[in-house]
Amino acid sequence: MLQKDIHSFLDRFFIANECEILERHEHLLNVQLTIELDKLLMNRPFYWHYLEKTGGVPNPMQLKLRTEQPDESEKDGEFIHFGSPRLHQIFQSSQQLAPYIRLFEQVEQTLGSFTPLVPWLGLNIKVSYQCDRKKEFLYSIGLNLINGQMTDQFQTFLDSKSLTPKISDYCYTMSPLIRPMSGIKRVEQYIDSVIEQDDPQWAIDARKRWAEDEELLEHFYQDVEDKPEYYHVEKSALKELYEPTVYVKIINGGMFYLSDQKMILH
């Protein structure tokens, strides 16, 4: 993310959370936080606890963020860059605030007819290849819960649609033939197959590094009859460090009711 992307991210984040923007320049945002965001971002649980006990008038804080290194004259405002703890706190807040979603496609109404909307399960998934090193992939998978069709880059597809939280008039939703839970299982299996088809060299190499270190360790203690505790500690540390493992985590996802269209499986 470049500084201008960070600025635009922050701007969209506060607007989406219905915060009043008090000041906005190319590199500056001054926002009036809502109560909810104050609680999420400002780390003052005692204030909010006190307020709820006493029934006082809530006074959420304002937040001034700069995306350009402030010079001497502009002392107020937090400088936000890609490594800022504040930015990562906002990243996490966005994920806390949006784990589950349900949306309906907005459909141009054709006179006198009803439009069926097909239920899709959409999942954004992070896959982490981890040993003593790490590499990650993001997948956005859509699964048609009527016919089982699966598609990659579902999020990009959704971006081209007009979606609303309320179903349009003269539309109705079709009942899923695949239950959401088995849908999730199908997507997981698909992800597993992608992982298994991927080049396993990284895991082979990690196991090799692991074996090398373990061999050294064994050699070190080879003449010791009663292995000391730290031999076992070291051994399990090696396992934790090197053992290649893949972590699959759903970032967010939900139900998307879309007008019927043929989609192509990638």
Binding site: F82, Y100, I101, R133, V246, Y247, K249
Partner: protein, 559 residues
């Protein structure tokens, strides 16, 4: 190959509830933002460093980046960081820690440093690396916080010890790791027991003395890397200090150790200009000095052993105040016999006759002729106090500086010096842990007997960030023990001129970890100046000879 694949089920469970409860559902824009946030923090590759773009306010130097990359990619996160003093080992360790944190590979981190550096480390990690490190203060800190900085002495003691050993640390960083060279110590045992996944050992002097110290250090980091003890002895050891199969050993050590020398870094270093300033003692000062020498020669008494004549001679070369304190303490000590007490009182009376400080006068003259700021290093607090008073009498403002100062007092004094004072007067320990690059003039008011300490003094100023040439003035009182040290030792080995990075290794090679003790012995045991000269020449040639050989275990990684 079958891979271990772990699916996080947390999301699915929540999803079912939302379906049953018909919401609540997220806002579409926030949903998209959450995904964009995740995209931006997704680690695109096993290799490469993510950390630099997270700390744009820190100027990371190329050799520091290279160290971080090497440790992570070639050493699997287990390494001895052994750059010379002043090249930024803290930065390198911080970079590596940051990288593992960003990658989500390290969460729980323990940093063990000398007690005096706990706050400094905490400060560097939080301000430079935006790593939320906390100094260890209470015993609950270990469990409650992910990144803790502590002294090893605290951590290894009950009740902390038990709690620390139970923690599941991902990364352990140990500063001043050369202190762990002896495997019979409690510190060594404690560190050995710690669970070490990623582990960084920081030391400017990885190889100090005996060959087995290297073995111990490496075995702590990666047991078996140099074989077990028996194998190691057989393969590499030849006598107490000597090594066989040196090439092979070097290669092995270089697999777990990175060491940069100043000249390797490709950085342009400012020049050092060194000047010896001879000081002639005033008659009264000379008389005091000679009186002490007489005591030393007095074979008849028991004074020889219990009476620190050499200490006193050195102190007299600094200030009468320094010598006075020592004498006073001696005369008041309970076990002191009457002979010592009398001698002390006799010398104290001599001190009263001293009416001026020739060195201080010279210092004043020098300072008045220097345009910029000046740092005066002295070994003695009494001298420090005296100088502050003396300079003030002549309208020169100065600030004191000691190693014992708390972190924020150090910062405060540095600020005062930078903005308001002409002179900083530092005692020995005051030399550590602070950067004074805005100053270019150093007066070595008196000289420590350990050349490494000289290097540390100069290193405060002659380091990364210094943009101008550095001037060093060595005060040497003529015809004293001080002049001997300067002329017979330091000047011979070009201590001040060159950036003597491998001095630590030279001292190690000649088995002279405690050079101070060695010099002290020369002075004690010699009956004449001639004898002192010869012995010092021997010492010098030994050091120079080792330097010419110029090899060391770690030297060739970058060459």
């Amino acid at each position: 190959m079958t891979l271990n694949i772990k699916h996080d089920q947390e999301w699915s469970e929540g999803f079912l509830k939302r379906i049953e409860g018909d919401g609540p559902w997220a806002n579409w824009e926030l949903y998209k933002l959450a995904l964009e946030a995740e995209e931006s923090v997704t680690i695109p590759d096993f290799l490469g460093l993510q950390a630099p773009k997270h700390i744009p306010h820190v100027q990371v130097l190329p050799h520091q980046l290279e160290v971080a990359r090497t440790v992570i990619e070639d050493m699997n996160g287990k390494g001895i960081l052994a750059d010379e003093v002043g090249l930024g080992k803290t930065i390198e360790a911080g970079l590596i820690a940051k990288e593992y944190m960003i990658r989500g590979l390290a969460k729980k981190i323990l940093i063990l440093v000398p007690a005096s550096l706990v706050l400094q480390w905490t400060h560097e990690l939080t301000s430079k690396f935006l790593i939320p490190a906390v100094p260890q203060r209470k015993s609950y800190v270990w469990e409650q916080f992910d990144v803790v900085v502590s002294s090893i002495d605290t951590a290894k003691r009950s009740p902390h010890r038990e709690i620390v050993l139970e923690q599941d640390y991902d990364l352990i960083i140990i500063d001043e790791a050369h202190k762990l060279k002896n495997k019979k110590t409690k510190n060594y045992d404690f560190v050995q027991r710690l669970k070490k996944k990623y582990c960084l050992l920081l030391t400017a002097t990885p190889i100090q003395n005996k060959i087995e110290e290297v073995f111990n250090l490496v075995s702590l980091l990666k047991p078996g890397h140099l074989g077990n003890e028996e194998y190691f002895d057989e393969a590499y050891r030849s006598g107490r200090y000597n090594v066989q199969n040196e090439e092979k050993l070097k290669q092995l050590i270089n697999k777990v150790m990175v060491r940069n020398r100043r000249e390797d870094t490709g950085l342009k270093w400012p020049k050092r200009f060194v000047k010896t300033i001879p000081i002639t003692l005033s008659p009264a000062e000379r008389e005091l000095y000679e009186s002490i020498t007489e005591v030393k020669k007095d074979q008849s008494t028991v004074l020889q052993h219990s009476f620190s004549t050499i200490t006193l001679q050195r102190e007299v070369c600094s200030s009468r105040e320094a010598a006075f304190l020592t004498l006073k303490a001696m005369s008041e000590r309970e076990e002191t016999n009457s002979a010592i007490r009398e001698t002390s009182l006799y010398l104290m009376r001599k001190i009263e006759n001293v009416d001026r400080n020739s060195k201080a006068e010279k210092a004043l003259e020098l300072i008045k002729n220097i345009d910029g700021k000046v740092i005066i290093f002295t070994e003695y607090r009494a001298t420090q106090l005296y100088l502050q008073w003396y300079l003030q009498q002549h309208g020169i403002s100065s600030v004191p500086f000691r190693g014992g100062f708390k972190r924020n007092k150090k910062d405060w004094m540095t600020q005062l010096f930078k903005n308001h004072a002409k002179v900083l007067i530092a005692t020995e320990a005051g030399g550590e842990g602070i950067n004074l690059q805005f100053c270019q003039h150093i007066i070595n008011y008196d000289l420590p007997w350990n050349p490494m300490r000289i290097e540390q003094r100069i290193g405060r100023v002659h380091r990364i960030g210094q943009e101008q040439d550095v001037h060093i003035y060595n005060f040497a009182t003529e015809n004293t023990i001080e002049e001997h040290i300067l002329k017979l030792l330091y000047e011979k080995i070009n201590l001040f001129e060159s950036v003597i990075g491998n001095l630590d290794e030279i001292l190690t090679k000649v088995g002279m970890k405690n050079i101070e003790q060695h010099i002290r012995q020369i002075f004690y045991e010699s009956d004449s100046d001639g004898e002192i000269r010869i012995k010092m020449e021997n010492l010098t040639s030994m050091l120079k000879h080792s330097d010419d050989e110029g090899d060391s275990y770690a030297a060739e990684r970058h060459s």
